[in-house]
């Protein structure tokens, strides 16, 4: 297939990506075990689109993010960014100019020894903006865009509040004018009364700059609010993906339904029968068949025997569950 095909091609396409890590192994412990952090994931994001990625610990969302950023090598499959295969057709700097990241913890993600100006100006210089006036202008403009004052550029991170620090983190991610921004739990470390400010800012910046977002979060309310499409991951695989409305109003996978039922909110009180049981298994030792079967309230014998494939139940709505057809009713009913 032609790599530079159509104008409306996906900005990001992840094609059957797998990332395995050897765990243990050595002189005394024998053969290493394979941790299948990401195990055959395909997804795509169009320019200007937001994809919400939902999942709990060990589901592989962080590894997926790292491989999109070219920081982890694929065991199988590939990541295509703006028509170029990451790692083959791109170098470190190309990837950095196309995709950036906003981190969860605004305290640990800023270098305490660098002023805001250095945090924002150094990347510009690294990427070839050498004119001092232009660097200063872009730093000032960026600070204004994230709602900070340009005269705050010479302060150190500890002089800012958590919400302001997250604004600096967003400014750092956008200073190179990337096309895709991976937001890794961008508000979950912030005070509740500050979250709305950051969510609104991210949505404004998306509209202004035409950004695409990969919105990683466990907070379904945030994901619903910010995403066009949603993918739900469990133990290294996507178990359900579709438009936000389908995923949240008519979820077909029992795991998606369990996630919704688990939200502590008076709105979900009637969903107790949809809740998942027990603990998330270790990705080192996933259960046979459908990996969700030990926790699934709807599991049948077939689920323990064979793993379902991701298949379409509707236009653009894919589910990997043997009983997906039985969950065609809206969840709130």
């Amino acid at each position: 297939m032609d790599k530079h095909a159509r104008a409306d091609q996906a900005l990001l396409s992840v094609e059957d990506l797998a990332v395995y890590f050897p765990i243990g192994g050595g002189v005394f412990s024998g053969k290493p075990q394979m941790l299948r952090a990401v195990d055959g994931v395909s997804l795509s994001i169009k320019p200007g689109e937001s994809l919400g990625l939902v999942g709990e610990s060990g589901c592989g969302k962080s590894t997926l993010a790292l491989s999109i950023l070219g920081l982890v090598n694929a065991t199988k499959g590939r990541v295509v960014l703006d028509g170029k295969t990451v790692g083959e057709d791109t170098d470190r700097l190309d990837v950095a100019r196309t995709v950036q990241m906003v981190f969860q913890d605004p305290y640990a993600s800023l270098n305490p020894r660098q002023t805001v100006r250095r945090t924002l100006a150094d990347p510009l210089r690294l990427h070839g903006v050498s004119n001092a006036g232009e660097v200063a202008d872009r730093v000032a403009e960026m600070l204004r865009q994230v709602g900070l004052r340009p005269d705050q550029a010479d302060l150190y991170p500890h002089e800012f509040s958590g919400g302001q620090r997250q604004r600096i983190g967003i400014a750092r991610a956008l200073i190179l004018k990337p096309k895709l921004v991976i937001c890794d739990e961008p508000v979950s470390a912030l005070d509740v009364s500050i979250r709305a400010q950051i969510i609104n800012l991210l949505l404004e910046l998306q509209a202004e700059m035409g950004l695409s977002y990969l919105m990683i979060s466990h907070d379904l309310g945030v994901v619903e609010h910010m995403s066009d499409r949603v993918a739900v991951m469990y133990l290294g695989r996507i178990v359900e993906t579709g438009g936000w409305r389908e995923i949240f109003e008519q979820p077909r996978h029992p795991y998606t339904r369990a996630l919704i039922a688990a939200i502590p909110d008076p709105l979900t009180r009637g969903l107790a029968r949809e809740k998942a049981r027990g603990e998330i298994p270790s990705p080192l030792n996933p259960p046979p068949g459908c990996t969700f079967n030990p926790r699934c309230p709807h599991a049948i014998d077939h689920c323990r025997a064979a793993a379902p494939m991701l298949s379409a139940v509707d236009d653009g709505h894919l589910v990997s569950c043997w009983r997906a057809d039985e969950f065609a009713t809206p969840i709130s009913a």
Binding site: L69, L71, R92, L93, V95, A96, R97, Q100, M101, F103, Q104, D105, Y107, A108, S109, L110, N111, P112, R113, Q114, D122, P123, L126, H127, H158, G169, R172, L176
Partner: protein
Amino acid sequence: MKIRANLAIGGGLTVLALAVGIFGPWLAHTDPIMDANLMNAELPPSREFWFGTDQQGRDIWSRVMYGAQISLTVGVVSQLINTAIGTALGVTAGYWGGWWDDFVNGLTNLMLAIPSLIFALAIMAILGPGLTSLLIALGLTNWSYTCRISRAQALAVKSQGYVQAARVLGYGDFRIMFTQILPNTLGPIIVIATLGMGGTILAEAALSFLGLGVRPPSPSWGSMLSDARETITTAPWLSLFPGMAIFLTVLGLNLLGDGLRDILDPQSRSRR
């Protein structure tokens, strides 16, 4: 306010020692080598000879003033070499990990297993006595603590979000080490370097005492002590004053190091 006392006394003594090292030639009354006068041999401290004179009638005050240059040069230069080696090995080992980390760890353990003075002695034996060999010998043998500490710091810092962010921005490994990791590991490294400087000054004295240091007649505090050992009972001032100079300088550096540790301790710095 113990912290302030550490810092004030330590800083004062260190500044004094450095001042003597720099301005020694102007503070000296006589030339420390040429002005030998056997008529004045082994005179006790007096109004004319503040610290007395040695066996060859040279003014000990002047020799202590001049000696500061050599002792401090050895302290500063060889400790700079140690810090550079230790930090370079430690930060790269902590950041990269893998076989390089294993190798650096092995090397560090080896260095810690051999007494550094014996190791320095061996190097001196190969290079021969003299200031340059002294700098090299002491500069190559005292980096293991710096290496350990900077490795541990690098390990802790590399998992911080801002290091990850730098990788995402396309920073290369060396740029990350210089701009992200090093500035955040510098505190403890400075402390170790200050404390280590006292150690190298003592090591210089020991090597000079054994006759492997600076060649006579150039004065260093260590070689002066060495020369004075036969007269320690008859003319104690010959050993007392260079000994005091070493003692006060090393004490000053140690107090300064302690004081800096109190200030640079990340716990007292963090605001949250």
